[in-house]
Symmetry: C2
Subunit: 74 residues, 2 copies
Amino acid sequence: MTRADRLERRRAFGARVRALRETRGFSQETLAECAGIHRTYVGSVERGERNVALDNIHALADALGVSVRELFDK
Amino acid sequence: MTRADRLERRRAFGARVRALRETRGFSQETLAECAGIHRTYVGSVERGERNVALDNIHALADALGVSVRELFDK
């Protein structure tokens, strides 16, 4: 897996989080509060800048009301 | 999400990695080499001790020949 692959997959994850958040009509602030993580962190996740780990992946899925599987396109 | 929830989900992830690895007849060493990560790290992931992040989640899925979704039970 190349660095480009990693960045592309981080971006895909972030784009999915953003799309689900917007579908729910949540602001980044609301999602951050529901997930118990910082608002600026949510922004950087959505921009694909973060190597998000399991605990926060689960927290985001819970806050968005989806299963973890739904945060990945395959 | 409580600390117990987080630990339970890390354990569930690790158990799934182990089950898929064993189904393929891979040793921890083989999986580690294929995924480009350290053998002792694979062991600690399988024991549920690690808050594994996106890059390594993808590397493990690729090495196991599964989609990322298959690493999660829901």
